[in-house]
Symmetry: C2
Subunit: 190 residues, 2 copies
């Protein structure tokens, strides 16, 4: 998606350790115009796939997922990290290693909102090692929901998550696929 | 806002301890059609107020804030709870007591995205004790940004936050103001 690639080149920032900061337009601070285009593109890619629910994970997936939900006209569900007092009842759960924070999170969604009959598009801002996406797929399988596929804003294609998950037969569409990044700010797309 | 009040009456659930669960349409699972209406209503209420930025706090404020940003056509910034590795640089910070989780969080936003010249609408899903809203107002004041006001989806008007913050001269618009709730499921709006 040219609009997103151009924005990454213009406003993205590369930090040591292979970190791409896009917090001026995609997470932390979000540009609704760009996110509208992103949601529309996911909808175009998955048209006719019967998607009736968007699933993401807090916090930075929520923005792109909301705009996907708007484009599809379907509910948006976000997995919570760890249990909170206000989440009573029963949950589907999964374990996700966070490479960002170096902790294992339990992620959970209410059984009320995910089950057989749901055909889910999983949306997230980044795909790198694929830990979050693995966890969200697990939630769907545990719930008996079908995974239509994943809609990713930015994939670090030089990290193993995307290939591993595609090799399981799961459709993954990434709007910007980064082939390589250099510490001097150079970014090459696939 | 009649649409929201009706939805609360239809799909909200009262739990012991004065907890109102709206996780089927407002947080956890979100209804984009309802959120579009909510964003549009905030935009109508604050028309002509010069709002150029929406500020909220992760995670459940992000949905309503995104749709407010879409209606206003301005960026949406969410405060993060505690520091993460990917947030380098300098931040405005504030301390917020979470009555939901019984912990104190440091909330932070990047100084790059909030400063003098910003005229901020603070958006959140709930207003009860007002701790989160206090913290977000503090971030704005620290940054030298102006607070145009707050746009709240649901205010528990029987808790002290709304009155305390309005008495500081800050405009607070709540789309559904709950006067009282009873454990048998009765909800009375202001």
């Amino acid at each position: 998606m040219q609009l997103l690639e151009q924005r990454i080149l213009r406003d993205g920032e590369i930090l040591p350790g292979g970190i791409l900061k896009v917090d001026g337009f995609l997470n932390h601070q979000m540009d609704p115009e760009l996110l509208t285009a992103i949601g529309g593109e996911f909808c175009r890619l998955y048209a006719g796939c019967g998607v009736n629910k968007i699933l993401t994970i807090e916090a930075s997936g929520i923005g792109p997922a909301c705009f996907a939900g708007l484009a599809f006209g379907c509910p948006v569900l976000f997995a919570k990290k760890n249990r909170t007092r206000n989440l009573s009842g029963e949950f589907w759960t999964s374990r996700v290693w966070s490479f960002t924070h170096n902790v294992e999170n339990i992620i959970l969604v209410s059984k009320k909102y995910l089950g057989p009959g749901d055909r889910v598009l999983i949306v997230d801002d980044f795909l790198a090692n694929g830990a979050a996406l693995d966890g969200l797929i697990s939630l769907c399988l545990e719930a008996g929901a079908e995974v239509a596929g994943a809609g990713i804003c930015i994939e670090k294609a030089f990290q193993p998550g995307g290939e591993r998950i595609r090799s399981r037969g799961i459709r993954v569409e990434s709007l910007a696929r980064i082939k390589s990044m250099s510490d001097d700010g150079g970014i090459e797309f696939c």
